[in-house]
């Protein structure tokens, strides 16, 4: 391998780990990023001359720390407080560097929990996670979320300021804090995944990069802290991802689950996701992510929509609705009921849901209603419902799909 390739492989594999440790040693995100950059710059020169060290990560952490101290000392000429900071880092880092490799792995977990701290606004949690844990650039994040780099940069700057000024600690939460803190981490990961899987607006139905990043963080989290819901979320993402290819037609149109060519489902993802669901269910401490993954797994196991175990899916939705009531889950349950008992039963449930004032601006509620009206031959109502769905749908491939459904009714 050429020297440049070696360096970039080490960068890809280790830069986020080194950053996580430097943030702990230096106690500051910006200082750590600067030190990481300086350490790699030094490595490129020195490793070419002396060869790559046995433990590049330790070398980079140590070099980064010295660079940070140098930087602070240089600034101390203008600001005396920086000298004190440099001295503290020098003293503290001596004992903290003795930590074993387990502590270094913990640094990555610390970074996840700090970036996803619920005291930060959700858009900032997402931006910070993609920036610090995944190493995406501000421009990449802005592109993925259809906003300007300035907006993303501001979110990150404000989040870092709050971490510093409000005293958000760099630590893995204690047992009694874990449930609500875990919830926030999982929400961020799932939001990133969903943004990649079904972009909330615009023309691209999927943005591969974000889903991949979310699965990467999910794997990292499960590796470091295999809590049942973390396992469940990873399973859910893998199972959704396994259908990625089949859910868009060659012309870029959305294909419904029932119409998808199941030969295009990725069996590897289904097998891994299915095994993880079982693992999470066995813990008996599972929650909504595991249940949604279990529902996805039942779909994945079926050879066709007709052969799906709809009764089991309805049962899983019942449990899900008990622990986390949500109108969207109710809608999905209604669709499963329609498959099991017939369209009339499903329509009754969706009508009741809409009559309650829920989901009135949710296009998929009208799309599901329209499908069922069509099945029972109530074409005028089906047309009206497709039009309602179109009125609330902003995503291009879905609009295309709905328009075609409407046109096919004549």
């Amino acid at each position: 391998m050429a020297y440049g390739q070696v360096i970039s492989a080490i960068y890809r594999h280790d830069s986020r780990r080194v950053l996580a440790t430097l943030i702990r040693l230096l106690g500051d995100f910006d200082l750590a990023e600067e030190a990481l950059h300086d350490a790699f710059t030094a490595a490129i020169v020195q490793w070419q001359r002396d060869g790559v060290p046995d433990n590049p990560r330790a070398w980079l952490v140590s070099a980064g720390r010295f660079k940070a101290i140098d930087n602070l000392r240089r600034r101390a000429r203008f600001d005396a407080s920086q000298a004190e900071l440099a001295r503290q880092i020098e003293v503290n880092a001596e004992d903290r560097l003795q930590d074993d490799s387990e502590a270094l792995e913990d640094d990555r977990l610390r970074l996840i929990f700090t970036c996803c701290h619920p005291a930060l606004p959700p858009p900032a949690q997402i931006a910070l996670t993609l920036r610090e844990i995944c190493g995406l650039t501000t421009e990449e994040i802005a592109h993925a979320f259809l906003c300007t780099p300035t907006t993303v940069a501001q979110r990150i700057v404000r989040a870092k300021a709050k971490i510093r000024d409000a005293g958000i600690p760099y630590q893995v939460p204690s047992r009694d804090e874990l449930p609500e803190r875990m919830e926030s981490v999982l929400r961020v990961i799932y939001l990133v995944f969903n943004e990649g899987y079904s972009a909330s607006s615009g023309s691209a139905l999927t943005r591969v990069d974000l889903s991949d990043e979310a699965i990467r963080i999910g794997r990292l989290l499960v590796g470091l802290l295999p809590e049942p819901e973390a396992v469940g979320l990873l399973a859910l993402m893998l199972l959704h991802e396994s259908r990625r290819e089949a859910r868009v037609s060659p012309t870029g149109e959305l294909v419904r689950l029932s119409d998808q060519d199941r030969l295009h489902w990725c069996q590897e993802g289904i097998a891994e996701g299915g095994a993880l669901v079982e693992l999470a269910l066995k813990s008996r401490r599972f929650g909504p992510y595991t249940l949604q993954a279990a529902i996805a797994a039942v779909h994945a196991e079926a050879a066709s929509a007709a052969e799906t175990d709809w009764l089991q899916i309805i049962g899983l939705y019942d449990v899900l609705l008990r622990i986390e009531p949500s109108p969207v889950a109710e809608l999905n349950r209604a669709v499963a009921v329609a498959m099991y008992e017939g369209p009339e039963a499903g329509l009754a449930l969706i009508d009741a849901l809409l009559a309650r004032g829920e989901l009135q601006d949710y296009h998929l509620a009208y799309a599901a209603q329209a499908d069922l009206y069509r099945q029972v031959g109530r074409m005028n109502e089906a047309r009206a419902a497709y039009r309602q769905a179109l009125a609330f749908c902003v995503q291009q491939p879905e609009r295309q799909f709905l328009t075609r459904q409407l046109d096919s009714l004549g």
Binding site: H117, D165, A166, G167, I168, P169, P173, D176, E177
Partner: protein, 127 residues
């Protein structure tokens, strides 16, 4: 770090909800925080109907009845605590009994870059 934990509640329902804390429970919690060494000071406040707002504009003082802004929830009391970090401050705040019916805003105290004089020094230097 010091944190000011501002306890907001709807005054009309503070004492009448099933989860409403009784005064003894509030007092007992304050005492437990005191015993943990985290307490700087904590007080419950009189109703917002007793509030008076003061402003000075162009050197002229105006006095008006009531709070600065009408809100659904009113400031009912506060804790000033000393905590290791935000997580500890949040944990302490979550156990304030009124948090069950209201909310607690946790604000880090900004250390102004002015050296504070100990109280007895101030007294000694005053004529």
């Amino acid at each position: 770090m010091k944190y000011l934990c501002l306890v907001y509640c709807s005054e009309s329902t503070l004492h009448s909800l099933p989860d409403s804390p009784r005064d003894e429970e509030c007092l007992a919690y304050a005492e437990s925080v005191q015993a943990s060494g985290r307490m700087v000071v904590a007080e419950a406040l009189q109703s917002v109907t007793t509030a008076t707002t003061v402003r000075v504009r162009n050197g002229k003082m105006t006095i008006t009845d009531g709070p600065f802004a009408e809100t659904k929830e009113q400031l009912a009391g506060f804790y000033l605590i000393e905590a290791r970090d935000l997580n500890e401050a949040l944990q302490l705040s979550a156990k304030i009994p009124a948090a069950r019916v209201g909310s607690v805003e946790v604000r880090p105290v900004r250390e102004l870059g002015v050296p504070t004089q100990p109280l007895d020094m101030q007294e000694a230097s005053s004529p």
